[in-house]
């Protein structure tokens, strides 16, 4: 009687494994999954003290929804492996725990196989390397070429003012231009500004006076990258200390109608501006 009950349970476990496996495959077809019931309504009714703005909130929600797909896919796949393991394992005290461990290992080994594949792909594109030049991995190929060129232009004792809110470009720029003094001014460049306006406004800033000074326009750099189809080296971690610089605000970088546009490139003028200019002494 007990043996037959166990056999039935094993069959049920195998059927559950099949159902979970199919569900795991189905989930990957989705663009996103909703969060906890009622959570979105709660967030809408009680906004976070640190507002992301409408655009930022929408991007965040979309990102969360997509990540939930990956999480649920892995959870269902792991549980499917665990159900198969439970059906096949002998009756022992730690049977359920062993099934969970094997399910977890199945999910982990699946990720390992994917990782090997992605590493191979990135190695082919130059973004993965054990060698001594990782700039393509840091910045993407087209941006890496641009930054290498800038290193020959900008002397190591110069000061580099960086304007624009495309902070996903700030890290690669700072990395490539080390050990030059990088002064980040996380302020939007007003839409439609010309190269001369950017240079004139930057020249009034006090940072790095007495040294050769250059200004990097991240909005223009983003426009060039978008035109070149460059790799998206975006960095999704917002900084806690990204308040606009007071001096830059005084210089006119934050103008009425200026659009902090950290992801897209909607400023038509940016495409025509040079991304790097030397400032007059």
């Amino acid at each position: 009687m007990r043996a037959s009950a166990d056999a039935i349970l094993r069959v049920v476990a195998l059927l559950a494994a099949c159902a979970l496996g199919f569900a795991a495959l189905d989930v990957t077809e989705l663009d996103g999954l909703p969060g906890f019931p009622g959570l979105d309504a709660w967030v809408a009714a009680h906004p976070d003290p640190r507002d992301l703005g409408e655009q930022g909130l929408a991007a965040h929600a979309a990102e969360r929804a997509a990540l939930r797909v990956a999480d649920v896919h892995m959870l269902l796949a792991g549980l499917s492996f665990a159900a198969v393991a439970w059906a096949l394992l002998p009756r022992r005290p730690l049977r359920a725990c062993a099934a969970l461990a094997l399910g977890s290992a199945g999910a982990g080994l699946g990720t390992t196989a994917v990782s090997v594949h992605v590493q191979q792909e990135r190695a082919a594109s130059g973004a993965w390397t054990l060698g001594d030049d990782a700039l393509v991995g840091v910045a993407g190929r087209s941006l890496a070429d641009t930054l290498r060129g800038w290193r020959t232009t900008i002397p190591e004792d110069a000061t580099v003012l960086v304007v624009g809110t495309q902070d996903w470009l700030l890290n690669p720029v700072a990395w490539a231009l080390f050990p030059r003094r990088i002064v980040p001014l996380v302020v939007p460049v007003p839409s439609g500004w010309s190269a001369e306006q950017v240079a004139d406004a930057a020249a009034t800033l006090p940072h790095g006076e007495g040294t050769r000074r250059f200004v990097v326009d991240l909005a223009a750099l983003a426009a060039r990258e978008a035109a070149a189809g460059g790799a998206d080296a975006r960095d999704d971690e917002p900084r806690a200390d990204d308040a606009p610089d007071g001096d830059a605000r005084d210089a006119g970088f934050v103008a009425i109608g200026a659009d902090g546009d950290p992801r897209g490139v909607r400023d038509a003028g940016a495409a025509t501006r040079p991304a790097l200019q030397e400032l007059p002494r």
């Binding site: 965040h60 730690l94 725990c97 399910g103 982990g108 990135r122 806690a240």
Partner: protein
């Protein structure tokens, strides 16, 4: 070139830690070479980091000299057999060895699987450059410290120059700095290899500890060693790809918690107290969260007991080792705070963040793309182990959860973004230590009639008292 520098740096760290490992941690490291290398790397990193920080505060740029001298001194002490009368090896009787043959085969199978994952994890870490916070301040700071002492590093003392989280501790960047010094300008593989070495050390030490805890330990090792986060290349999910320092923190926390657990159970020697103090100092010197996690461990111990009198020695040792890090805060410019305690008293903020926080923390347990099914397995094993867990483990878990809740309720960032970008790494800090404690509890609960339960009964009796 950079990879070779990374290999050399790791070799120096292991050599530096070999003498302290033999002198203080032979019992913790166990019989196997893996556990010994893992613990030696942790202790070598702590010792080297402390010395490098002191030298940097004294005005020297970080180079190889200190690492080399420490490694030579450690090997000389090993050769002279100073303080290594007990090498910790416990030869197993022949009859017992035959009985455990099947278990040994399973152990080897699990070790083989974990080694495959660890190998891929190393390549995932070493082959990809620093990303996100790794590229924003951990690696740039290490590059600076190879050129400047801390008092002259632009990102620490120049208010205009790029520099994030200027008040973060510097132990890990100081270990990476010599590798950057010997690497070409665009190379990241050597420094990333050092971080991958920490991941391997954590797997080796956790594996060594878990395999001593019987079947439950083996299962937890299998799940922990194959976490998707080890090989994932997504920065949010990966323990290695971004170049963060959470894995070294988890390694030091594991050493601290295991040493404290031995002290509590009365199966310790003086070396465990020394180990705990070193690991506690290293926690404070690695990340801001490390200090909070140290407090959580010690408070849990104070509340659960027994042998509370030894807490003072660990606090004293940790405070001594934390002096350079505290001095560093006087040198570096302050950063905008990452948490505003006022928000903990703001009813509106608490209301707005309460439900998203609960949902976010609950979701971590089911984020299988990061932790696999390990959280579920931990709960299942802990349920079996509950008679032997006592109060220490629940208090530890509650402390960690309360800390996470406070961090996110008071964050100056948007809660959802902060959870998304850091909650998994924060939760990971205590995961290896929790696995070891739960596996140990399961073994002790399953072996009530054997000598192995003596320490559990001693601890629970003393807790009751």
């Amino acid at each position: 070139m950079s990879v070779a520098s990374g290999v050399f740096a790791l070799a120096l760290l292991v050599a530096t830690g070999w003498w302290p490992m033999r002198a203080f941690g032979a019992r913790l490291a166990g019989d196997g070479l893996g556990g010994r290398i893992g613990l030696a790397l942790a202790l070598g990193a702590a010792a080297t980091g402390f010395v490098q920080l002191v030298l940097s505060l004294l005005g020297l740029a970080t180079g190889w000299f200190a690492s080399g001298v420490l490694a030579v001194a450690s090997l000389a002490l090993v050769a002279a057999r100073v303080g290594s009368s007990d090498d910790g090896r416990s030869p197993r009787p022949r009859a017992e060895a035959e009985v455990v043959t099947r278990a040994r085969r399973l152990d080897r199978l699990v070790i083989g699987v974990v080694l495959v994952v660890a190998c891929v994890s190393c390549f995932a870490g070493v082959g990809t450059p620093f990303r996100a916070d790794g590229g924003k301040f951990w690696a740039p700071r290490a590059r600076e410290l190879a050129v400047h002492p801390v008092a002259e590093a632009p990102s620490l003392v120049d208010a205009d120059a790029i520099g994030f989280h200027r008040d973060y501790p510097l132990l890990v960047p100081l270990l990476l700095a010599p590798v950057f010094e010997r690497s070409p300008p665009d190379a990241t593989s050597g420094p990333k290899l050092v971080l991958a070495g920490f991941a391997c050390a954590l797997l080796l030490l956790a594996g060594s500890l878990l395999l001593r805890e019987g079947p439950a330990g083996r299962l937890l090792l299998l799940a922990f060693g194959t976490l998707p986060a080890w090989t994932s290349l997504d920065v949010r999910e990966s323990l290695v790809a971004g170049g963060y320092v959470d894995v070294p923190l988890a390694l030091f926390l594991l050493v601290l918690v295991d040493a404290v657990d031995r002290v509590r159970r009365g199966v310790c020697c003086a070396g465990d107290v020394v180990l705990a103090a070193i690991a506690a100092g290293a926690l404070v010197a690695t990340k801001l969260e490390g200090a909070a996690e140290l407090v959580i461990v010690l408070v849990a111990w104070m509340l659960a007991g027994p042998r509370r009198g030894l807490v003072g020695w660990i606090v004293g040792g940790a405070a001594l080792l934390a002096v350079p890090t505290l001095l560093l805060r006087g040198v570096a410019l302050s950063s905008p705070p990452i948490a505003d305690p006022g928000l903990l008293l703001d009813g509106g903020a608490l209301l707005a963040r309460s439900l998203p926080l609960l949902a976010g923390l609950a979701a971590i347990a089911f984020d299988a793309s990061v932790f696999g099914l390990l959280p579920l397995l931990l709960v299942a094993v802990a349920w079996r182990a509950r008679p032997a867990l006592g109060r220490f483990v629940p208090l530890l878990v509650l402390g960690m959860l309360a800390f996470m809740a406070c961090v996110y309720l008071a964050t100056t960032m948007h809660l959802g973004r902060h959870l998304l970008t850091s909650a998994h790494r924060l939760a990971f800090h205590g995961l290896p230590a929790l696995c070891v404690l739960v596996a140990r509890g399961a073994r002790l609960a399953d072996e009530p009639a054997q000598g192995g339960s003596e320490d559990a009964s001693a601890a629970t009796t003393a807790e009751g008292a």
